[in-house]
Subunit: 75 residues, 2 copies
């Protein structure tokens, strides 16, 4: 709930390279709003790093939909 009180974008720049889905522990999406004119897409990597992803990058959109569809495996 702390994010509600943030007054600006969390991401100042996005990671330029592809990140394999296997390295991603979770992804946080923060919609645009009064605090920020663009969506923030923040990936928490299994390595422990937090990286901002470019929401306009095709691979980012594909990875998010793969996560949603449980595409990493069994279904």
């Amino acid at each position: 709930a702390t994010l509600r009180t943030e007054l600006r974008c969390k991401c100042v720049q996005t990671y330029p390279e592809f990140i394999p889905i296997k390295q991603i522990a979770n992804v946080e999406l923060i919609p645009e709003g009064p605090h920020c004119p663009t969506v923030d897409v923040i990936a928490n990597l299994k390595s422990g790093s937090l990286v901002c992803l470019n929401p306009e990058a095709k691979w980012v959109q594909i990875i998010i939909n793969k996560i949603l569809n449980g595409a990493s495996s069994r279904r």
Copy 2:
């Protein structure tokens, strides 16, 4: 980074009703993995509530893609 150490699903049940995108402060996606056989989709509402969403619900997929595309407004 705390999520990496969780050993089970975060969501035990999902919210059955539609939630307007305007009420969503952020959405967290946790891919399926050894800790959990399904993706966890957790919405942090502006009201302060945390709710689990059903990743298989069409409206959930639509809302996530709307957030990604910045569809709430200007772009």
